[in-house]
Amino acid sequence: MLDQNKTTRVEMDWSGPERLQMNMGPQHPSAHGVFRAIVTLEGETVVAVDAVIGYLHRCHEKLSETLTYAQYPSIASKTDYVAAMTSEFAYVLAAEEIAKFEVPKRAQYLRVICAELQRIASHLLWLGTWCMDMGGALGGGATIFLYCIRERELILDLFEALVGARLLYGFFQVGGTRYDIPDGWAQTCRETIDLIESRIDEYEQMLEDNAFFLARTQGVGTVSRDLAQDVGIAGPLLRGSGVNFDLRKNVPYSSYEDFDFTVPVETAGDCYARYKVRMVEFRQAIAIIRQALDTLPAGPISSRPALKSVAQIRIPKGEAYARVEGPRGEVGSYIISDGSAKPYRMKWRGASFSNLSILPLIIPGHKVADVVAIMGSVDPVFGEVDR
């Protein structure tokens, strides 16, 4: 029998929590790219994060000073490769603003259709990968990922029929678009978005009835309204934190004022709020595409003569900052022109760069497992962070 008096209690020489520094990344499946977070842990709790970026840096801004206005739009798509249409869009808008080029109505509508299809494709990739990151909580994890990729394929097929490429398009050019839609494309597009709309209900049922999903997202990674603006995060993150601001509504460009849609706003500021905002954005994007297809005007797709040389487009002296509402928020291009065929200076305002810079401010205090959920809810694309 155990003698109570003779048992010895083992005491560890442990005054206070021990801190451990750990690398998450640069090769980490939940980063969706090359991102290294040096996290300082006390037990399971993160107390500090140092974000190391730049692994994918190609110096797009220097590159753009060496490429003409005709050449760079196709390179611009390589900044945010998950939503390639968006960055091309911002670049050509800035050039058009300085030169005061008219864009035909048909081209404006085609741009809107492609930008919104891109938003759906990008959000699908976000939803699938984010839910897979949270793994076992969602019935094996990979189910919803495969569902989302299945639907994203349909949109990539549409883009392939339109421009011949599936990931990096080169669809935009200064003055209009490079291609018009082929015969039968509009009908295929309608069928595709009808199908995706019905599938979105399915995803919501899968996720919002799942107690584990709610537990992992609600109250996790909260961003206050003030902090959101102070850091300059944009898009679904900003609207998830209670700021009613959408460039398509507040500063309409490319005929967005013609379409009837609503801007979702959530006030909680947590991962779940960002999820809710993006789920409504799916449906609003579909509504915009339907209206644009219904009212697509006839006419030319570009106001500029066909390109015969790379230095054909000349932009007068001046500067402009043009921005579009991308899937991840405000994507802007600040161009300073000296009157030649190439920009004197071009600055990318990448939505992911600003969004990611909030991570060191919101992660401390969370558990390690939540880091993955928060990082996924921010939806960074490292091509755009590092440029």
């Binding site: 730049g54 110096c59 220097k62 102070d230 850091v231 300059g232 405000e330 004197y344 600003s354």
Partner: protein
């Protein structure tokens, strides 16, 4: 504060011409840079920090450009300050806007601008051992850098 009120108060406070337009461009001396940031945030209500960057105007020196927005009243300000030829120091906006932290680090990385009072000024996109600052006009595109050539 609407755009017209913002224009008038900026012009009277800083004694500079502010052209109406979207965005309104305000240029001040580097000594008043942080003060301009505070004024934009607290008085004009531009709480949204959009971006901060720099431009190399060759012999005229570097210029720092920041854009801030008032999302409620749709007022946008483009803040500019010319550092002057050969000058590479600038006051930091990090005490005013937290978003300036990474943007100023990027400016330091790409242009070699030292931001005073920045809490954590080190390279962000390039590695710490990189030589030179690529976005300067004096840095050729094909500058070799070991081990990449």
């Amino acid at each position: 504060m609407n755009a017209e009120q913002a224009r008038a108060s900026l012009a009277s406070t800083f004694g500079v011409d502010v052209a109406a337009g979207v965005p309104m461009v305000v240029t001040v001396a580097p000594a008043r840079w942080e003060e301009l940031g505070r004024f934009a945030k607290d008085t004009v209500g531009c709480r949204f920090f959009n971006f901060l960057t720099a431009v190399d105007w060759k012999e005229q020196g570097l210029e720092v450009v920041a854009r801030v927005d008032n999302l409620d009243d749709n007022v946008a300000l483009m803040l500019k300050t010319k550092l002057g030829p050969g000058v590479t120091t600038c006051p930091s906006l990090t005490p005013v806007y937290q978003g300036a932290n990474w943007m100023e680090r990027e400016c330091f990385d790409m242009f070699g601008i030292h931001f005073d009072n920045h809490p954590d000024l080190r390279r962000i996109l390039l590695e710490d051992t990189w030589e030179g600052h690529p976005l300067l006009k004096s840095y050729a595109v094909d500058t070799p850098h070991p081990p990449y050539r």
